[in-house]
Symmetry: D2
Subunit: 292 residues, 4 copies
């Protein structure tokens, strides 16, 4: 994670033009958003600043708002590059499936065309909160919206995108919650203690492929030294944790074991939520649940 370049108190004290310049990357090509927000200073929280900027967008004259929305890049290019791709190379979490298959590329292209045909704007979604699968599902769902509902949906996503940018840029009190957390815990219920040294892998599950996101191993407390994902939004989608319990129990070496690699497949629906997915295991049984 990079350190934010600005502070809220600094922004509150700048001249209006320096304030606008400092925030120019939050709402791209729309300096009027920061200009409108400059007048509302000082802001007590980063959240309040973001809400003021979004209010400026929502209250903008219709043609200005339309031009702003229409000025966003096509999703296709963003999915191929930018936030999605960059992110997938980050050290932890990220999108495992970093290249579009030919079929997916075709679906995106078709959806983009149908969407622009119906709504006259590019499809906007906060990519960093989604896996490729959930983007496709959102895309297909939002095509059924009427224009007003979809306009609200696009503004909602712009709020989510700019909130992430603002948090990355500005330090200060009252930060909006933009990150989630995925963690696990393995209990050995034969011995009644944490299972140490269990190898774990986390995959993202796509429609026809799976992408490895992380490999790790449990420590003496049966947990991983760092959460499986943290410090960023959890991407809406389907995941699979695999636990090498056969290896841990030594029950596969004799070739007579029952459980070897235990897969737990689950969906994440709340990017800013906390998902704790423990495993209570013996060589012959296990229990899992969404914990807290």
């Amino acid at each position: 994670m990079t350190v934010p370049a600005l502070t809220l108190s600094g922004l509150n004290a700048l001249t209006a033009s320096a304030f606008v310049a400092g925030l120019r990357d939050v709402f791209e090509h729309a300096p009027w958003v920061a200009e409108a927000a400059a007048a509302g200073r000082p802001y007590p929280t980063v959240t309040a600043l973001h809400e003021a900027m979004m209010a400026a967008v929502r209250n903008a004259a219709p043609d200005r708002q339309a031009a702003f929305i229409g000025g966003h890049p096509e999703l296709g290019s963003r999915v191929r590059r930018a936030e999605l791709t960059d992110h997938s190379q980050a050290e932890q979490g990220g999108l495992g499936l970093d290249r579009l298959s030919a079929g997916e590329f075709e679906r995106f292209t078709g959806l983009n065309a149908a969407y622009r045909e119906k709504f006259g704007i590019p499809f906007i979604i906060c990519v960093r909160r989604h896996t490729r699968n959930s983007i496709l599902r959102q895309f297909e769902r939002r095509l059924f919206h009427d224009v007003a509902t979809e306009c609200a949906a696009a503004l909602h996503e712009i709020g989510l995108i700019t909130r992430l940018r603002l948090v990355a840029l500005v330090d200060g009190p009252g930060q909006p919650v933009t990150t989630g957390r995925l963690s696990t815990h393995v209990l050995d219920t034969v011995a009644g203690r944490p299972a140490a040294g269990v190898r774990i892998a986390l995959h993202e599950i796509g429609e026809s492929a799976r992408g490895l996101l992380k490999e790790t191993i449990t420590n003496a407390d049966g947990r991983t030294d760092a959460p499986l994902i943290a410090g960023e939004p959890l991407r809406i989608g389907t995941y699979e944790l695999t636990f090498h319990v056969g290896e841990y129990f030594g029950s596969q070496s004799a070739g007579t074991g029952f459980l070897d690699i235990v897969p737990i497949r689950f969906s994440i629906a709340e990017p800013e939520g906390h998902y704790h997915v423990p495993l209570l295991a013996t060589p012959w049984s296990y229990t899992t649940y969404r914990g807290s």
Copy 2:
């Protein structure tokens, strides 16, 4: 299943030559096995008859025994055709991966050559008790045997192969146990009752592929109308049951669910065993275990 063509009491009453003719397909190209067994009649059980035939093999003169073992076909051809392939087309159970990949073919070829080089006989294994993966593992393991140990292993497998043939051919008391059983049961622990209408699939898990063995659905008692596998040996190997619990609970329709398709991966080590693999589930948690 086909009906056995002979009965034990019938065999006990036949002339010696008719007895030998009736059993000619059990020990191929070795009528002397049945000839030796004919003298021991009457047999009270099918198991006793089989043991008498195996005793004849074990007590045969060394050159006759060696010729008998050496006359078995190469595994490669049998894996590609015969018991393995035929079986995989049977209605239930069976080997999901019915074509060898190029890599597997190469491994089998290499193993066959190394095995013949070391032991001078073809590799013999009761294919119907194994998945392709477990055959490869057995092959690799048995290459480390010394000659005497491996000779005993080959005879043991011949016993398993001929036992299956005898049971298919002869009806009568005291049948040896040659079949296993895989079953499941789904409990809805939100409602405290069996989960009816849950779709279930059973896959065989190979090293790099998975083969669908069966699709079914739970009945009003949360069980499947027929066992997942029964009436044949369970093939040693790794399997995955997938339960469509999201669909059952309706929890995925809203896009906010946690569990959708629950996979349970397990190994079968005892072809003649009973494996009961239940699922106790809510939309947020589940427990599984080897039951009885």
Copy 3:
């Protein structure tokens, strides 16, 4: 269980007066019930015969019906003796708390007086479907009824009482379901097999006391040779099963164990239901659920 003295086909063929005499103990002091039912013969099922008799009660002239209901004995005497007490001495199941405490006696006496004061009839309940606790709760609940609702409740209970008597007296097709079943199953999830030799006790839990109903031990299949309760209605109430798992695992002998006697407390609400209450245990964890 005693063998029914009559058969339905026999009853269908008797003279009307012999039919009435044969059934005289089902609706005590009300031969007119059987007289009315005699005309409807032949009955195809025992259930149809019982329904015809209950129809006769429901359609009786008001004064005759009132006299019939009013002729039932006070509950107090029945709880102290008769069905309740007799039953508690039966070999399996039964009511564990076979003597009223002073406080309970006082409550029953007060409730009887209040009930007769309000409704002018004795409180009628099918005692064999209840524990003492649930009788008290029913008593207290039904005191709030209006007269019509309570009259229907009393007739409903008479139906339950006479159904049990009829089933005990008459053999034949279409018997109404009057019995429930309580069973258990213990799995040792350390070893992945049924837990054999686990001592189990079943208690009925009263407000201030507990009564032992049964002690048993699991067999090789982890089950009890006979169900914990079967062949009679389950009594509505609260129960506790205790499983001596520390003894089974040998984990208490060292004085360092975690689980010793595992209690599972549950309520039975459906006297004719099937309650299966399994235990999946290690020395450090367990799972239980209402199974099937």
Copy 4:
């Protein structure tokens, strides 16, 4: 908890006689223990100080050591008053059964006599690490010791007793661990979230009675605001947690529920351990385990 009156650095700097005076209540009636330890100053940790004092006891001349051990009060009086009774009135945790039954009194009296007869010293045990039941079991077990083994056991207990006294008296680095922790956590696996507002009670389970130690309720995170027991040794013994899950799920109000009050009975064997005992529950099923 009271604040320690002394600091280790203060003790290290005192004159020898002030040092001895300050520690006079740790080893009662044996100022020679502190005198011996005074010479070893400065001590880097409280643990090192305690070990030095215990070394002085172990290395004392036999008659001095015997007089020291023999000077301890009879257990009976201490069980009736002192640490045991005082403790049971403490705010949290503690010994639930604060009065000896006639039978227990008789057993203690008999054991005291037999012990003194065999060993010639009073029975010494660190009462604050035990429930009454475990004291009786220890007593009965130690009666079988030979003299040397029992002398070592008595010194070990004196170490435990004085360690607790020293920790209460002296603040400083390197405190020995003298406290344990009992906690719980309730998950509602119907809703996939922590169960808030669940009433919980903790009882100590004696041979023929149970003593209430604590009543509490889960917070929004499904945990209790404070651990069930903390800041003191856990007393070796048997406990029962009861969770009012029927009330939580509202499943008992209709009178058709299955689970109402869920009891979890477990033993504590390590007074300085951490026992986490969670409950994963639906109205029809639950799982518990020793967690971490």
